[in-house]
Amino acid sequence: MRKLAWTVTAWAVGIIFVFPVLWMVVTGFKQEQDAASNPPTWLFDPTLDQYRQVFGRHITPYLLNSLMASGFSTLLVLVLATPAAYALSMRPVDKWRDALFFFISTKMLPAVAALLPLYLVIKQLGMLDNVWSMVILYTSMNLPLAVWMMRSFLLEVPREIVEAASVDGAGLGLTIRKVIAPIVSPGIAATALICFIFAWNEFFFAVNLTATRSGTAPIFLVGFISSEGLFLARLCAAATLVSLPVLLAGWLAQNKLVRGLSMGAVK
């Protein structure tokens, strides 16, 4: 009996929390007059009109820009963070602790204080409204997180195995490929997904440093900020569409999510 009450409560709370998301998805399939009705419309004929409208308003380039900025920055983060994490865990450099804390301190400095110089430098270089500027910024945004997270995964590789491999005459390259990589590859995947999530959702730099040519998915939504109720269904369709990749990535990575969010501190 107690267990039943517990189950019912937990499910009820879960549904309450997810309800706004459900409402968003559902509203995206409504006609505008159903979306903006009071009292709310629960039964309606689902339509794809809003999605047609959203694609008609050229959301595709925004999605592609987001894919490029998030994808390339994630790749670059992994290329930089994995060796760094190695040098901070398996064969640690002298001041590895200082280096680790330097990385995390860059995460604490507020982006807003760097906005003006970044804007001026990027403008000087003629790189405003350029996806590659976003790639660089998102890389620096996610680098500390990835270093800490990758380090926590590398620490889990049993030292004995690595030593055994080198005793058996395996070189460093072979050891990394055949021994370390298979153990940490789920960790690399989780790190990649989390970096992707943060880059995909980033708004502050995107809204200030991009415009029509390299605007990312969040920028497509800016047009809806002041729009009135006539466009609620279309807004919901667009919001669902841009959130979908991260929802999928997050659900996939959910077992490692807490580790990524806590920079590897919580397993």
Partner: protein
């Protein structure tokens, strides 16, 4: 004494030097994989701050080109006596603290709920983390238009009435949206904490006759303390930078009721084009952050020692 040892070691001096060289080479090889990431982080994150520091000493409005002159600390005086900025500072504290605290408390409730086995636990967990994954600006727009709107929003649609939630309760409207997004984050961290408790110790306490409430206040809460601290700390790092929700839901208004520091500096930079003042405000924010971060790093550092102790 020292001399004697030094002389005694002299014959093997050449070999020591060789070893030292090998050691230096080894150190370099060890350091090599770290360097690209370190250099990248220094160039992209530290240099802009030096530039900010430099710019903050100039009177420079981009709308009046050519009028860029050195003014020393005048911008700081302007910034620190600016009523708008003081309001923004207060709003930042209120917004961050209330969002962190409320989501921490709700997250604790959810984590306790999920710490037990029940049918569909995995599904419920997936449902609960979903709000955190929705793109922040999409979430802010959803709450602004689909939930708070006075004529067709969900709240008035379900409860009746014509309350304009955003205009009447702007700070609450922003904080509620943030709490909805960040509660899952807190829940995940606290759930990990709960599940790292030793089941045997809890069982032993129960056998010894401890009431559930006692087990919770005497054992679970102290165990959770560092997880609560970590959640509060990480939540503050992210939430103090809140921009999307303010930009979308209230545009900092009405008046300056919800203008926080990131939004105020954004306005100074890209609406008023007061580059010098914006840079000075940025430096002030950085100094504030350093003070908070020093405490924060201490917390992380203690977690770190715990990890090593294991």
């Amino acid at each position: 004494m020292t001399q004697a040892i030094a002389t005694g070691a002299a014959p093997s001096g050449a070999r020591a030097a060789q070893q030292k060289r090998a050691g230096a080479r080894d150190r370099l090889v060890r350091r090599l994989p770290l360097l690209p990431a370190l250099i990248f982080a220094i160039v992209v994150t530290q240099i802009p701050f030096l530039v900010t520091l430099y710019l903050s000493t100039f009177g420079w409005n981009a709308l009046r080109p050519g009028e860029r002159r050195f003014v020393g600390l005048d911008n700081y005086a302007a910034v620190l006596t600016d009523a708008r900025l003081r309001a923004a500072l207060l709003n930042t504290v209120v917004l961050t603290a209330s969002a962190v605290l409320v989501s921490l408390v709700l997250g604790l409730g959810l984590a306790l709920l999920l710490d037990r086995r029940f049918p569909g636990r995995g599904v419920v967990r997936t449902l609960l983390i979903t709000p955190f994954l929705v793109m922040p600006i999409a979430a802010a727009l959803l709450w602004k238009h689909a939930i708070y709107n006075p004529t067709y929003g969900l709240i008035n649609g379900l409860l009746g009435g014509h309350t304009d939630w955003v205009s009447n309760y702007p700070m609450v409207a922003v904080v509620a949206t943030l709490v909805w997004q960040w509660t899952p984050f807190m829940m995940l961290i606290l759930l990990a904490g709960l599940q790292s408790q030793s089941e045997e110790v809890l069982e032993a306490a129960r056998v010894d006759g401890a009431a559930p409430r006692q087990v919770f206040t005497r054992m679970t809460l102290p165990h959770l303390r560092q997880y609560l601290e970590l959640g509060a700390l990480l939540g503050s790092i992210y939430l103090v930078q809140t921009f999307d929700a303010v930009f979308t839901i209230t545009q900092g208004g009405p008046g300056t009721a919800t203008t926080n520091l990131p939004y105020e500096i954004y306005l100074t930079t890209f609406r008023k084009f007061e580059y010098g003042e914006a840079a000075a405000a940025g430096v002030v924010v950085v100094i504030g952050t350093i003070i908070v971060a020093t405490f924060a790093l201490r917390v992380i550092s203690s977690l770190f020692r715990m990890e090593e102790g294991r």
